[in-house]
Symmetry: C2
Subunit: 546 residues, 2 copies
């Protein structure tokens, strides 16, 4: 199979139209039925597959970087009477379990990025439902700050997954109903089992939407609300922004070679090595220099490449069980970039850079592979790159030698790159030892292996006599274990401490959805998903409640 590529740009969009109207961007959905990512299904009624969502994610990312003058986003449909019918069911029914799970994960991330954009970037989003929004379509609306529903006697919002398909709304819908929009749970129960959904005034009274607007006033009201949302933005009045140039990636049989990132795939042992290179000296030191360097600045380029490599792993290399995280190059150069970023955090572009790095690190922690960081001489686990080691399931650090390995903190390790739980990686690491956290934060300069291990920044610090065997054995053992048990274990250990909408979606909701996806009641020969749309065939269900 052709590997899935995540590279796109507005000139290549098949399913969305991005229009800029002064300080408001309008993203109009007009899914091209025949342009599914793989053959075998038609994307009718603005239903979507991964390809549609890749464009959406790209558009949101570009708005943030390339259009500082955009202060609000309207998400709407370019079709009559149909906003979006959700994820395409025939696509889902014909997909493998790993693909289904990774598809849902990616779409969930895209929805969360919309919410992060609103909370952190000063671009609030309005869902203008000019027609029915069902399933994933309504879930997309739920990820926006405000939802306007046209009140034309027929447009409804609905979550028909449970009653029609025997699965869950898979993109955060249930969680956002009760936790974000605080819909009363008994009403949420009724709504989530009513295939036909809820219209007009009741939808507004139940807080499923913010307003139901008569057809004649809809366009005006959308403009009014978009203007109001835009008015609250702290983004600059005008550009220039940063054009996101295509990522330089050279795929090979053994992996991917980017400018700053190298992914080496060892299929036989099911182990990959993911190496991030530190910047060279001479990276931009001011916002204006960053604007000039654009997407070639290391602080943008290396992280976009890392993001792409993670998505490549998720979708195109499903059998890789263990990923060894490495860094190489000049740690001082990482620290210098971090200092620039920290010093200018309030500048809109620098803020976007930090948020990009934050999202990529979260993407890593949400990737269902084991990550072991290997810290050895010549590595550059400092500051933002140290977060990679802190995000890993374990870190091994080689002790001793002539030019011993070190790790070092930068200001960015102090909460600038929070995890999904809202804690910094250091806070999450030292939940049980707050004093230790203080000790680590007050330490100036590099830690050698012994100090890093003693304070708890790394897991083990073997010397060069033990290093090779210890790492090799750990990797071999890990790669031999049940992939499913590891996924479940990692999903439970990686998110200690407080829960957020985000961790709830990936922990609770997705885990249940994955369970349902594997059940014969959904995906067996006579399952609800398998038989959806097949005339005359009724699902046969094992009626035991579990």
């Amino acid at each position: 199979m052709q590997p899935i590529s995540f590279a796109t740009d507005p000139s290549r969009y098949r399913h969305w139209k991005l229009e800029l109207r002064d300080d408001v961007a309008v993203l109009g959905m007009a899914v091209d039925e025949g342009a599914g990512l793989v053959p075998g299904y038609a994307l009718k009624l603005n239903s979507y597959d991964l390809g549609v969502d890749i464009e959406l994610a790209d558009a949101v990312q570009r708005l943030r970087f390339s259009h500082p003058e955009v202060h609000a986003l309207v998400v709407t449909s370019l079709r009559e009477r149909m906003f979006c019918a959700g994820a395409n069911i025939f696509m889902l029914a014909s997909s493998s379990h790993p693909f289904k799970v990774n598809f849902c994960k990616f779409t969930n991330e895209t929805r969360l990025y919309l919410e992060e954009m609103s909370a952190e970037s000063g671009i609030r989003a309005l869902a203008a439902l000019n027609g029915t929004a069902s399933g994933g379509g309504y879930e997309l609306a739920l990820a926006c700050d405000e939802i306007l529903l046209i009140d034309d006697g027929s447009a409804a919002v609905s979550l028909p997954e449970v009653p029609l398909l025997g699965v869950l709304p898979g993109t955060g819908g249930l969680t956002r109903l009760v936790d974000k929009r605080k819909v009363r749970r008994d009403r949420a129960d009724f709504f989530s089992t009513a295939a036909e959904g809820v219209k007009g005034r009741r939808a507004a009274a139940w807080r499923l939407v913010d307003e139901a607007v008569p057809s004649s006033q809809f366009a005006t009201r959308v403009r009014e609300r978009a203007a109001a949302l835009a008015g609250a933005s702290d983004r600059p009045k005008s550009g220039p922004g940063v054009e996101l140039e295509p990522i330089s990636a050279a795929p090979s049989a053994h992996g991917m070679e980017y400018r700053w990132v190298r992914l080496e795939i060892g299929r036989e042992k099911r182990v990959a090595t993911l190496t991030v290179r530190a910047p060279d000296r001479g990276e931009p030191e001011s916002p204006s220099a960053l604007l000039e360097a654009g997407s070639r600045a290391w602080a943008i380029a290396a992280w976009r490449e890392l993001d792409d490599a993670l998505l490549h792993l998720r979708f195109n290399e499903p059998e890789i069980g263990v990923v060894l995280l490495r860094t190489e190059g000049d740690a001082k150069a990482v620290l210098a970039v971090d200092r620039t970023v920290d010093r200018h955090r309030s500048h809109w572009l620098v803020r976007e850079i930090l948020l990009l790095q934050k999202r990529v690190l979260k993407r890593l922690e949400l990737t269902a592979r084991t990550f072991f960081a290997l810290v050895d001489p010549g590595s550059a686990f400092a500051g933002s790159l140290l977060e990679l080691a802190l995000a890993a399931d374990r870190a091994y650090m080689l002790a001793g030698g002539d030019a011993p390995a070190t790790v070092e903190l930068s200001p960015l390790n102090r909460g600038a790159l929070p995890t999904s739980s809202g804690l910094s990686r250091l806070e999450a690491r030292f939940l049980g030892e707050p004093a230790r956290l203080g000790e680590v934060l007050s330490h100036g300069g590099p830690f050698d292996a012994e100090a890093a291990c003693d304070t708890g920044l790394v897991t083990f610090a073997p010397d060069d006599i033990d290093w090779e065997d210890e790492v090799r054995l750990a990797v071999e053992e890990r790669a031999a274990m049940s992939p499913d048990a590891l996924t479940g274990m990692e999903a439970n250990l990686r998110f200690p401490g407080p829960e957020t909408l985000e961790t709830k979606i990936f922990g609770r909701l997705s885990a249940w959805q994955n369970w349902i996806f594997t059940r014969p009641n959904a995906t067996g020969e006579k399952g609800t998903l398998t038989l959806y749309g097949k005339a005359g065939q009724r699902p046969e269900l094992d009626r035991r409640r579990t």
Copy 2:
């Protein structure tokens, strides 16, 4: 198959010995290999099945009610060199998926009851590991306040589920490691994949146990720590307590008839009706009268019966999809009992009564069936019984008539019976409308259907023309939906708001475990669990990470 019974008492225990030493109770595990709940496996090495856990749950409940003079609990083993090997794998491998899930749920509840006993009842618990504690054995220890591990060169704590069995520790182990004991996540990762576990000093240094104690000092140290834990109790110095008499239950082909509770099973429609009767007048009005009435007091008896009915539903009636919750009798009598309970909350027995009611209501919300409350004339949804309607997925209330139905609050609806999230049911219900919450709480006297519906205490209030059809249709539609999708949906909608250790265990950890249990990698013909202990046969795994 013979229905599973949850009734037992110390004279009938096969697997535990309960010994009272002044203010410390010692619960010694000595599992009878040949006394498994069903034939087909031997409970070697103090491994357990549901029968063993039913006794443990019973013992803990009895300590609380019958032995107010007990101020601390020691959980230990009566075997040499083996504390407990965890859940019996051959039992798990031969069980159906619904049974596995319900078994794990029950054992999770028992562990949480130990923690509630510590936090709320003044009985703290010490795990005295006089030998190896692995898997569920270590998880039982994790549910105690303190863990002492004998340091004899061989005793270890371990979670071998992932590396040996390809499943998760299913009784909260992963969550308690990082969230309760705050073990660093990279160490938790290593520990949870090291089949041999961790011993002695390292176990203590990593906070897996509180102390590793040399064999020669173990017994003394256990006594010291138990005495210290007992010293912090606020329980009375001496009895009498309340003997928990056998529950009066008459099983029939169509359900269970208890003294205050009636469970009617409609297998054809997969619908059950669960009715709780209000007390008669003349219930005890003081702690001393409650002590005298003992377990026959409505405030104890009705709730024990309801608990038993829920467990009966879970284990013996797997195909019942919808449970109609009804009450009948004199609402004023419920309010009178509630007032007595509220007035004397600080008395140890009254505190236990409240905690019992709290646990039963939580058990209901953790039961994977749809609950619809039906509020009609003659019902008694007041105070503690109103919590049943608030716990339900929906409540239907019949409007109008000659003696119209009402619902009414008591002081117990104001936080005395919190949900698993820590919020009261009313707080969770009105998350999005705090003003509405204030309105409801300040309302004196009964609400009729219109008022209850307007304020949001019930979901729908049809009049007698619509009532029958509306309820019948809702029940029929619900019973026809995919049982798995409903389980997932309810697990997501029932717990809005904050997360706790408890909701994390049932939401995140259990959902992942259930997923793993259904995967061919665990339970397929060549799965890890299927082939465990079968010499010469190696699991064949689908290596795709998901």
